[in-house]
Structures are given as structure tokens and as C-alpha cells.
């Protein structure tokens, strides 16, 4: 965010403290972006503090099943008599972990591919670009399921599968941004100064493609959260006793008509989380990429 602060305060000519610059940068991501930050902060807090402040352990059967909403059990109890509120709070851990992890895998796999393709060009570019096209030509969920069939289910495998789905998206953006700056004078200069390719990439290319990549990160996080929930709903995610929105919703579906709140509470939490990521992502996009060049199909679109 340091970069953003610099561009925002640049016009005023004032030397702002680091903290003040940061505040200004946040203001730039707009009302919706700030609502998103608030939602994300809430979930992060729940994820970090959840297990230590929850009134009842999320995994222990503490009461009769299907209790209604009460002061003692805020969201009632689920089909095994576990506190639904505790489970919804603690499930935010797996949600955030899965989203962040799969996006991280996507960046780690995709960025080197894209930078190599864009910087080296020629045959390398051709091969890597076709590979990315190939990955793109499978619908995301199908590719993720195919990877999980090969690796087996579980949280780390599901996030790895999603990372493979997201990798070509990061790869494409890294490639086009690298091509854009490849011919710039400062890179020529570094090359003439006999700097190694890796040094140039680390010192000049990566910092310059960081902005479009971080826009993409913001936009991918909400997608990752939703996709992971789908995978865990289908039974490819984290193993059962651990609270997780996807599996909770799958189990609750059998009691859809008789006990609808068992679906409604985790569903609301999940959708809120996805929206939080979506809002932050779009706020970041408006702030860092106002002409909408990175992701032409911006979900919120416009200004």
C-alpha cells in the first residue's frame, strides 16, 4: 500500500506520516471498499479469536439437537446438538485459510510462468501461453475436481486444485504487464550494466507488475472463497468434524424444510464473507486500476 499512499499524497506536496498516508489510501477505495474491509476485519477477528472466545466448543455435543434460537445458543443447535453459533464463528477460519491459500498458490504458480513468458518471449512464450490456454479451456470447477480426483480430497489438496485453476489468470496478467515494461529504458540500462536476468526481474519487473497483480488478488479472493465452499459442499474439502461452511450447508440440507435456520446462518455467513472479499477487491481495483485494464469484466464495473 506504500505506493498508493505516495500517489495520493503526491499532489499535496505535504510530507505526511506513514500512518496518515495509509489512511488516505484506504479512503481511496471508496465506501463499498470500506464496508468490505469492515466485513473482512470482522471475519478475521472471528477466525483469530473464535476458538478462545466462543461460548461453547464448536465440536462438542452440548445439548439436544435442533434447539431453536435462544440466548444460550444464539443460532440454536445443529443435527448433532452442537452449538451452531460456535460452528459458524469457527468455520470462518477454514474459509479465510482456504481463500488466502489458494490465491497464494495461484500467484506462486502463475507469476513465474507469466514473467518468464513475457520477459523471454519467443518459443518460451509460445509454449507457456499455450499451456495457459489449455488450462483456461476447462471450466474452473471441472479442472479443480479433476485435480482432486488425482490427489484425493482434503483442505490442502482442494486449495492446491483451486490454485492451479487461478494460476493461468495470474500468469496472463503477469505476462501482459511484463511485456508492457520489457522495453522500458531502466530495464535496458540494467541490462547494459550487466545485471543478471534474475536481478532485473527481482529489482525492476516484479515491483512494476505488483499493482495489476494485487488488483487481481483482490478480485480472486472472493472467487476462491466461493469455489472452495462449493468443493467442500461436494465433499472434497476439509474432513467432517472441523466446522466449514460447505460441509455445514451440505449436512443442513437434509433438514431444509423442518429446520431452515441450520441452512440460513452458515449461508448468510458464507455470502457475507464472499461479499466482503468482493467489495475489497473492487475497491482496490477502482483505486489502483481506474481504467479497468487488468480485468475488463470488473464485476462492479464503472465508477
Amino acid at each position: 500500500m506504500g505506493d498508493v499512499g505516495a500517489t495520493v499524497s503526491g499532489g499535496t506536496g505535504l510530507k505526511l506520516s506513514r500512518f496518515a498516508r495509509r489512511i488516505r489510501a484506504w479512503r481511496g477505495i471508496g465506501l463499498i471498499g470500506n464496508i468490505g474491509i469492515a466485513i473482512c476485519a470482522l471475519f478475521c477477528l472471528a477466525a483469530i479469536l473464535g476458538p478462545s472466545v466462543e461460548p461453547v466448543n464448536a465440536n462438542s455435543m452440548v445439548a439436544l439437537p435442533f434447539l431453536r434460537v435462544s440466548l444460550h445458543f444464539l443460532f440454536g443447535t445443529d443435527e448433532l446438538g452442537r452449538s451452531e453459533f460456535s460452528r459458524v464463528v469457527v468455520a470462518s477460519r477454514i474459509g479465510i485459510l482456504a481463500a488466502v491459500e489458494s490465491v497464494a498458490v495461484g500467484i506462486v504458480l502463475g507469476t513465474p510462468m507469466g514473467v518468464a513468458a513475457g520477459y523471454v518471449g519467443g518459443v518460451v512464450d509460445e509454449v507457456l501461453s499455450r499451456l495457459m490456454d489449455l488450462l483456461f479451456s476447462l471450466p474452473g470447477l471441472l479442472l479443480a475436481i479433476a485435480v482432486i480426483v488425482v490427489l484425493g480430497p482434503g483442505l490442502s489438496h482442494a486449495t492446491l486444485a483451486l490454485g492451479i485453476v487461478f494460476a493461468p489468470q495470474f500468469g496472463r496478467i503477469a505476462r501482459t504487464s511484463t511485456i508492457e515494461i520489457r522495453g522500458r529504458a531502466y530495464i535496458e540500462a540494467a541490462r547494459l550494466a550487466d545485471r543478471g536476468t534474475l536481478w532485473i526481474i527481482a529489482r525492476h519487473v516484479l515491483p512494476n507488475i505488483a499493482t495489476p497483480l494485487s488488483v487481481m488478488v483482490g478480485l480472486t479472493l472472493s472467487n476462491a472463497e466461493g469455489s472452495y465452499a462449493v468443493l467442500s459442499y461436494l465433499g472434497f474439502g476439509v474432513a467432517p468434524p472441523t466446522p466449514d461452511y460447505g460441509t455445514m450447508l451440505f449436512n443442513a440440507q437434509a433438514y431444509l424444510i423442518s429446520d431452515p435456520w441450520l441452512v440460513l446462518f452458515p449461508a448468510a455467513a458464507l455470502v457475507l464473507m464472499i461479499l466482503g472479499f468482493l467489495f475489497v477487491g473492487d475497491g482496490l481495483r477502482q483505486q489502483l486500476d481506474p481504467e479497468n485494464r487488468v480485468f475488463s469484466g470488473g464485476v462492479l464495473g464503472g465508477r
Binding site: L141, V149, A229, F250, I257, V271, G302
Partner: protein
């Protein structure tokens, strides 16, 4: 290079020179060449994917076809070996792939080692369900999403507050995972319209009304998140079109709002909207898998999950391939139709 300028001059006139000359002139037209190239790359993509899926499932996934066949009879390793030999599983992978591909192109996808059914027959049963669900979902998403997106763009020029109040609900709808929208629809219909939805699938041959009653909720569940996406994207595209000068000119010339916005502006926005429909195909196919599972519809998506559960990888291979080819064909169609919709498009 503008397409319509060129095609005016080079339109082939019917003459007596024969079909070959006509074909030769046709091939010179950029649109035809573009179509050929697009067809060729799509075919290559499908071929590469089929190889990838074949190798992935035959070589990487533990548990071969022979193990499954042998397992049900409790055979010894030597018998497993004999079965492997009979099925040709000991040959090099490329030669296995070639013979599998040759059969697959003739519509023979093999026999499932788990169920003993012909896989092409299974797919032929499942495909109509998925195709109907996808088309209905896309139809609902387009019929609801595009007009609302256009209206949001129009009203957004006057008041950002109205704009926001149109967009926000659809943003929430976009964020709904397919299984959540499915569960909510089931819940609402059970509460308010218990007589509309029938929970068991009725094939279209058994009557259109019964079929629609069993398909309407799943179709809405598939269509809703896609609709949310279309609203946001149509709004963005339309607001860009509305800021162009021909809109101002049209207003100045006294064109009615229906004609100006409904015809001219929508026409100018139709190409990006079409591209967005292509963009939503991936989402649509993901939706099929999940929604068929939620509503227990006997389509390809649910069949795919069942095949994973039964470790029926020969069937899974065929199902993944069919969905992937459908995705490629869908995108191909969008690319081929785009130059016909908007002739200003430049063909490279």
C-alpha cells in the same frame, strides 16, 4: 480493416464457374478464414485436452480398470494381469490413447467396468437433462439480467442512489454459491408455492408442463448467479455506450427513449454483452454440477460426481470430456457469431 467495407466488394456472385470457384472466392473472405482458423484452434484444444484427461485418468489415478473388473470376482494378480492384457492396458499409453480416440470419434466410449453399461448410452441419457438445464438457466439469466443492467445504467446517470439500489441486490445474488441459491429456492418454494415444483425429474418426452415443473427451480438456481454477473457487466457496458456522442446526437434529433436506448444503445452494447455470455459459460457448467447434485437431476454433472464416488474412471473421463468440449464449442459459437452481430469488429 473494416469488415463491411471489404465484403461489399468481394461478395461472391453466383455464376456458372462451378462450386469450386465459389469455394475459392469464399475462402478469400476474411470472415471465412477467421472462422476456419477459430474452428481449427478449437479442435486442437479439444484434442490436447482429451490427451491430458486420458493420461491423467489412466496413469495418475490409482486403481486401473482391470483392478475394478478383477476386484468384483476376487481375482489373483495373475488373473488381473490377464485382464489387463485382454483390455490392452499393457500397451504404450499413446497407442492406447489412439485406439481410444478412434473409438470415441465413432461414438464408442467403451463399457463401464463398474456398472457394465455402455458409456455412450449413459451420456446420451444424461446430456439432454444438462443441456436443457443450461439453456433454461442462460435464458433466465439473460432475460432478467440484460434489461435490469441496462436500466441500472440509464437510471445511474440521473441518480447514483437508484443505480446502487439496483446493483446491490444483484451483487448479493452474484455472490450466492449455486448450492445456497438452490437451497433457498427449495425453501421458498416449499413455503409459498408447494404445488409448483415436483421433486422428481420428468423427461421432456413425458409432457412439457411436467418437465418444466421439475426443471424450473433448478434452472433458476443455475441462472441466478449468472444473472447477477450479467447485470453488473451489462451495466458497465451500457454506461460506457451511453456516454458516447451518438447518444447525445440521437437525443438532439428527438429520438424517442425506447428507440434510442432500446434499439441503438443496446445494439452498440450487444457485442460486449455477447462476449460476457461466453464468459459466463464456465460459471454455467460449474453451476450444472452443483445444482444437479442439489436437486438430484440425472444429468452429466451429477453423473460425474457419482462416477467419482464409484471410482468409475472410464465414465468420468467421458463426462469430463463432454463438458469440456461443450465449453469449447460454446466459446467457439460466441466467437463465430460476434462478427455477424457487430460488423465493425476487426478480424485479425
Amino acid at each position: 480493416m473494416l469488415l463491411n467495407q471489404r465484403s461489399e466488394h468481394e461478395r461472391p456472385k453466383p455464376d456458372s464457374k462451378g462450386a469450386l470457384a465459389l469455394l475459392g472466392r469464399l475462402v478469400k473472405r476474411p470472415i471465412v478464414r477467421y472462422a476456419f482458423r477459430r474452428l481449427l484452434t478449437s479442435a486442437c484444444l479439444a484434442l490436447a485436452l482429451s490427451l491430458l484427461i486420458f493420461i491423467g485418468i489412466q496413469r495418475i489415478v490409482p486403481g486401473s480398470e482391470a483392478d475394478i473388473l478383477a476386484g468384483s470376482y476376487g481375482d489373483t494378480p495373475s488373473q488381473v494381469h490377464a485382464i489387463e492384457k485382454r483390455l490392452g492396458l499393457l500397451r504404450p499409453i499413446m497407442s492406447q490413447y489412439m485406439s481410444w480416440l478412434a473409438k470415441a470419434l465413432h461414438g464408442n466410449l467403451g463399457v463401464s467396468p463398474v456398472s457394465g453399461l455402455k458409456i455412450s448410452g449413459v451420456i446420451a441419457q444424461q446430456a439432454p437433462v444438462s443441456i436443457e438445464l443450461a439453456l433454461l438457466g442462460l435464458l433466465i439469466a439473460t432475460l432478467v439480467g440484460v434489461p435490469i443492467g441496462a436500466l441500472a445504467a440509464l437510471s445511474g446517470r440521473r441518480s447514483p442512489r437508484i443505480d446502487m439500489s439496483v446493483r446491490l441486490p444483484f451483487l448479493v445474488i452474484y455472490a450466492l454459491p449455486f448450492f445456497v441459491s438452490g437451497a433457498l429456492l427449495l425453501m421458498l418454494s416449499a413455503k409459498f408455492f408447494p404445488s409448483v415444483y415436483t421433486a422428481s425429474y420428468v423427461p421432456i418426452t413425458a409432457g412439457l408442463l411436467g418437465n418444466l415443473r421439475s426443471m424450473i427451480l433448478p434452472a433458476i438456481a443455475v441462472g441466478l448467479p449468472v444473472c447477477g454477473l450479467l447485470v453488473q457487466m451489462t451495466r458497465a457496458t451500457m454506461s460506457e455506450v451511453l456516454s458516447q456522442q451518438f447518444i447525445t446526437t440521437g437525443l438532439g434529433n428527438g429520438l424517442g427513449p425506447w428507440r434510442l436506448y432500446g434499439v441503438y444503445a443496446l445494439k452498440a452494447a450487444s457485442l460486449p454483452i455477447l462476449a460476457l455470455e461466453g464468459f459466463s459459460f464456465g460459471m454455467l457448467i460449474s453451476g450444472l454440477v452443483v445444482v444437479e447434485d442439489v436437486f438430484s437431476l440425472p444429468g452429466i454433472g451429477r453423473g460425474l460426481l457419482l462416477a467419482i464416488e464409484n471410482r468409475d474412471f472410464l465414465e468420468l473421463e467421458a463426462q469430463v470430456l463432454v463438458l469440456a468440449v461443450a465449453f469449447i464449442v460454446g466459446n467457439l459459437l460466441v466467437d463465430l457469431v460476434s462478427p455477424l452481430v457487430d460488423r465493425r469488429i476487426t478480424i485479425r
